[in-house]
């Protein structure tokens, strides 16, 4: 069987359907199967990344109907990069949560299925070339996230999940409404085709659709007034799920925002760029100043995550190649760094009441390795060299400077200072004082240690030698910026709905 992008969705789905049966056979299979699947998908990613690097965009037609009649998967350098990142992160999450729950516990079964579905949804959302299919995957992500958020049987989990669900339902509703209006105008659902036909849509209609899309997907991308769900969900979900949110869900949301604004509507001269910059800026500021006042570690990490997404939005709003490069780099960094932070942070606060930061005094002595990981993550996420976070921040700032957005640079840097304050408050505390009496340290599992080590090494390697990854990101940035290329690849030569000469304008 030739490796193709659809494996990203078909294989894990098959596995997910299979898992309830397997669980009846042997409980241990349940834990192992996702690992096997994700390993296989990792292999697929590697193969496809190589292929896309040499041959360019891979289009996979589904059900034998080429676009725009069937649904297609578009594996560009950008989507491929994100998919690979997601698979890798999922694998690490799986490693981390391998011993997460006792296997004879009923929820453990659900947990692994849900995580697998979350991965599938995210990857599918990134890869699909069809707007309604996009919506479906968005819902897959959403449903698995709701369930995972409410995974712990305490009251807060359910509350967070309900808020998430309420807002998430809004997101999908608005998104669907946008699709409805869009379909009425262009009569097609393929994104490339939509992009071509968008020129004929009347402006006011276009704006309405855009607004609906922006609000709908902005919820997933944690844009400011729409992100009330995020901190609760992040902080109440089990920590591997927190990682998954940071590494998969939000990434998918941002991807959606970018795909819709860049490809469907076109970012140049449309006012979307400044809009994204402003909203990103507000998101960044609001999230970071709220994070500053947090007393609970996971909540703080959650707000920080939102802030980072604001930063990504700013970068995408600037919209030059350099900025998009920085944004994608930042997405990558955020995934690995926030992953490390959530993983190590959850061990740190495992036994503290309310996961409060103030009980962490002196944990640096008691849990040296975990503390080290956390400190590394904190150093990296605030963008201190020579860690990974620095490079992305640098590139975004460079792009902003090229665009003469000096106020923006100042804003970003001021916010970074706030970020430093609260992260270093924690790091400082880790190395201060004596741990409270009777605090029990949770011993990290082997899988967890491996996962965290991998992330830490990744942070260091990317920090010291960013070129290891910049080539891919450069290609990704080019591919997202080049809408014509996307349309041409996605629709291919066979396009009867739109004359070919209209495609490239």
């Amino acid at each position: 069987m030739v490796v193709s992008p659809v494996h990203f969705i078909a294989v894990p789905l098959l596995a997910a359907f299979l898992m309830p049966i397997l669980a009846k056979v042997n409980k241990n299979l349940l834990r192992i199967v996702p690992g096997i699947v994700l390993t296989y998908l990792g292999y697929v990613s590697v193969v496809l990344m190589n292929r896309v690097a040499t041959e360019g965009t891979i289009i996979e037609v589904l059900a034998g109907w080429s676009a725009p009649w069937g649904i297609n998967l578009v594996y560009t350098p950008f989507t491929g990069f994100l998919a690979t990142l997601m698979i890798a992160m999922s694998f690490l999450i799986w490693l981390y949560s391998f011993k997460f729950k006792k296997v004879d516990d009923e929820p453990a079964l659900k947990y692994f299925i849900l995580q697998l579905m979350l991965t599938t949804g995210s990857v599918g959302l990134v890869l699909t070339g069809d707007i309604f299919n996009f919506f479906v995957f968005m819902e897959i992500i959403a449903l698995s996230s709701y369930a995972l958020t409410a995974f712990y049987r305490d009251r807060n989990g359910a509350e967070a999940a309900f808020k998430y669900l309420l807002i998430g339902a809004f997101a999908s509703t608005l998104f669907l409404l946008a699709i409805v209006l869009l379909y009425s105008q262009v009569g097609t659902l393929n994104m490339a085709e939509i992009s071509v036909r968008m020129h004929d849509v009347p402006t006011s209609m276009k704006v309405s659709i855009l607004v609906l899309f922006l609000v709908g997907i902005g919820i997933e991308a944690e844009m400011f007034p729409l992100n009330g769900w995020a901190p609760d969900a992040y902080s109440q979900a089990p920590s591997p799920v927190g990682v998954a949110f940071a590494a998969l869900v939000v990434k998918a949301g941002v991807y959606g925002l970018v795909r819709i604004t860049y490809t469907l509507f076109g970012i140049e001269g449309s006012g979307i760029g400044p809009f994204l910059i402003i909203m990103g800026g507000i998101t960044l500021v609001m999230a970071e100043i709220t994070a500053l006042k947090q007393t609970s570690l996971k909540r703080m990490l959650a707000y920080s995550s939102i802030g980072q997404m604001g930063f990504v939005l700013i970068a995408f709003g600037i919209g030059t190649h350099e900025a998009v490069f920085g944004a994608i780099f930042l997405m990558f960094n955020h995934a690995i760094i926030k992953g490390l932070l959530f993983m190590s942070g959850s061990y740190l606060v495992y036994n503290t009441p309310n996961k409060e930061i103030k009980y962490l005094s002196g944990y640096g002595m008691k849990m040296p390795v975990i503390s080290l990981f956390f400190s590394l993550g904190a150093l990296a996420i605030v963008g201190l060299p020579p860690f990974a976070g620095f490079w992305s921040k640098l590139y975004i700032l460079l792009a902003a400077a090229d665009g003469a957005l000096y106020g923006l640079i100042a804003l970003i840097l001021v916010v970074s200072i706030i970020e430093i304050v609260y992260y270093f408050r924690v790091v400082g505390r880790l190395y201060f004082g004596k741990p409270a009496e009777g605090s029990i340290m949770r011993k990290p599992t082997v899988g967890g240690m491996i996962a965290m080590s991998i992330l830490a090494i990744a942070i260091l390697v990317v920090g010291f030698y960013p070129d290891i990854i910049t080539g891919y990101i450069d290609a990704a940035a080019s591919s997202i910026l080049n809408t014509d290329e996307y349309i041409k690849n996605a629709l291919g030569a066979v396009n009867e709905l739109t004359p070919v000469e209209n495609i490239i304008q």
Partner: protein
């Protein structure tokens, strides 16, 4: 020259085991450095679309040599100082990293690698500051905040520079700076200056320094105050001399003036604070800030003599403040305290430490014939001979500060080493050899530099010529100003030392035989008979009268304002975050409101 860096990188992992490894790493790097100084090759590392350059020039050689020499000695001291403490791996890793990054800074030929190493230096030193774990994280956080302000100001300047000239090379900025517009010049200049001022602890940005210096382990503080803060000076010199001087005078004149006065104010205020401290470490920390104030002022004045004095003082300060911090560290380690009001009379127990500290103190006070005087003299002369009236008034500030410096210098020596002997400190012994040797070596260097400051003038003059001065003249042991007045250090040194030795010999011969040592308990007490256990040393509130005299200016500290600012911000933030009410319905409302707003104004913003 990348060899030195590579030596570090290779060894960087190893100090996990012991400070000895860290010492070996640093000293071997020092050996590599001093033996390879002739090579001037440039190491280039390319990252995506820009290249990082490392190389050594005449100017950075001064700082590199200073860093290497002193940190090699300090790391020797470190072995003994840190022995028996917890988490040595943690400490030594950061210790070595900090030193490595300083070398990186001076080697950097472009702003990006400059910034990278700058920040490595910042966080590694932050991790050392929190090592002792005093005071609930406030100091560390403060240090980090201010460093971040500085670092990010610099980063902003760097990216703006790049957007203007599309290059990160320091040399390119120097060339292109005059071509920038007025506002651009101002912005880049100010941002860079903020960045460097933080590390150099210039007045409004200094509040992190006292606690950060005093709460680090002393072996690092010697580096911290002696070398790390000099990196700010390093950058500032580039800005003032290479960059600004190429621009039209009117534009940058004002920055120089402002910074010079800030330096002066820093010197005075920090000195005052140093005078009223009760803790030796704190005292030295403030003293460091004050001394850095001189250096900054010297740089900002920007004449040949003043810059030379600034650079000279930078090196000398690293030496004497290194000694003093190490001495205090030795006392701390041996006696377990650094409280000036409790300690006393350690001179007989720790004579070598006292000797080094005495030499360093004399140098710090700027008293001839030691190296400190040379730097001070040049600084004053450069200000007096300046054509700018404001510098003449600045002299007063500088002089006030350096006169008041006598007070704290005396306080330090008196509080630690002199005064009445207390049974409490009877157990104290001289520090072990690895701690004493670096101190004594550095003290001897100070004496030598008093006799022949030209040893140091030579590299500094070369460096200054690299920075853009022409014909920087210097003599081996003679100082001269632009009015042609000179001080001949050989004569000064000769006469002072001769007289001192003669006097000492005379008094010793006359008195030594006939007198016997009695404990300092046995003193004149104006007729009163002290109880045996009473300690009569006058050490508490030593400078109370002086404190009362300067009280009006000390009433409000900068710290106070910063704290209020910080609290205000925090409460604002606390208010803002109330927007996350926790009610899901409210969030839904936000969504709808946002939607409605966008629907209403959508047509305007999305064309």
């Amino acid at each position: 020259m990348g060899g030195a860096i590579l030596a570090y990188l290779a060894k960087r992992i190893t100090p996990m085991l012991s400070s000895i490894v860290s010492f070996l790493a640093i000293s071997s790097a020092a050996v590599v450095f001093f033996t390879m100084t002739s090579s001037t090759d440039v190491v280039t590392v390319s990252v995506r679309n820009f290249t990082l350059q490392f190389g050594l020039n005449a100017y950075s050689w001064v700082f590199a040599a200073m860093v290497m020499g002193i940190s090699a000695l300090v790391s020797l001291y470190n072995i003994a100082y840190m022995s028996g403490k917890d988490r040595l791996g943690y400490f030594n890793l950061n210790f070595t990293l900090a030193i490595m990054s300083m070398m990186g800074i001076v080697f950097a030929n472009d702003w990006i690698s400059f910034f990278i190493f700058w920040e490595i230096m910042t966080w590694s030193s932050f991790l050392i500051v929190v090592y002792n774990g005093i005071d609930e994280g406030k100091i560390g956080t403060k240090y980090m905040i201010f460093s971040a302000v500085g670092g990010y100001a610099m980063l902003m300047a760097i990216v703006i520079t790049n957007s203007q000239i599309d290059s990160f090379l320091i040399a390119d900025l120097i060339n292109a700076y005059p071509t920038f517009g007025h506002g651009m010049q101002a912005m880049i200049g100010i941002l860079f200056l903020i960045g460097f001022s933080v590390k150099a602890a210039v007045m409004p940005l200094h509040v992190w320094a006292p606690r950060a210096y005093s709460d680090s382990p002393m072996s690092f503080t010697a580096i911290f105050s002696g070398l790390l803060s000099k990196m700010g000076i390093f950058g500032m010199a580039i800005m003032f001399i290479s960059v600004f001087s190429k621009a039209s005078i009117g534009d940058t004149f004002i920055y120089s003036q402002v910074i010079a006065w800030l330096g002066g104010v820093t010197a005075v205020m920090a000195t005052f604070y140093a005078v009223i401290q009760k803790d030796a470490k704190r005292l030295l920390a403030y003293s460091s800030i004050a001394q850095l104030g001189y250096i900054v002022t010297g740089l900002a004045i920007g004449t040949k003599l003043s810059v030379m004095s600034a650079l000279f003082l930078a090196v000398i300060h690293a030496l004497y403040k290194g000694i003093l911090f190490m001495a205090v560290g030795a006392v701390e380690r041996q006696a377990g305290s650094t409280n000036l009001e409790q300690l006393g009379a350690l001179i007989r127990k720790m004579p070598w430490t006292f000797f080094s500290a005495l030499i360093a103190a004399i140098a710090l006070a700027g008293i001839p014939p030691l190296g400190g005087f040379v730097g001070k003299w040049m600084l004053y002369e450069s200000m007096i001979t300046s054509t700018n009236p404001s510098h003449l008034f600045l002299v007063i500030l500088i002089f006030l500060s350096s006169t008041a410096a006598f007070l704290y210098v005396y306080r330090l020596l008196f509080g630690l080493f002199l005064g009445q002997e207390e049974p409490e400190w009877d157990h104290v012994k001289e520090a072990p050899a690895p701690m004493v040797i670096p101190m004594v070596l550095m003290a001897l260097t100070l004496i030598l530099l008093g006799y022949a400051p030209g040893l140091l003038f030579e590299p500094i003059a070369n460096g200054m010529e690299f920075l853009g001065f022409e014909n920087v003249g210097w003599q081996m042991s003679s100082l001269s100003n632009i009015w042609g007045d000179t001080v001949d250090m050989q004569y000064v040194w000769g006469s002072v030392v001769t007289l001192f030795v003669l006097g000492a010999i005379f008094i010793t011969i006359k008195n030594r035989k006939s007198t016997r040592y009695v404990t300092t308990k046995d003193i004149h007490t104006s007729g009163e008979i002290p109880e045996a256990h009473e300690n009569l040393t006058y050490a508490v509130d030593f400078y109370k009268p002086f404190e009362r005299a300067i009280e009006p200016v000390m009433r409000k500290t900068m710290d106070f304002y910063y704290n209020h600012f910080g609290n205000g911000l925090e409460s604002l933030f606390g208010f803002v975050r109330k927007i996350y009410t926790g009610n899901g319905q409210t969030y839904a409302m936000y969504v709808v409101i946002f939607l409605v707003i966008l629907l209403l104004i959508g047509e305007q913003i999305f064309k």
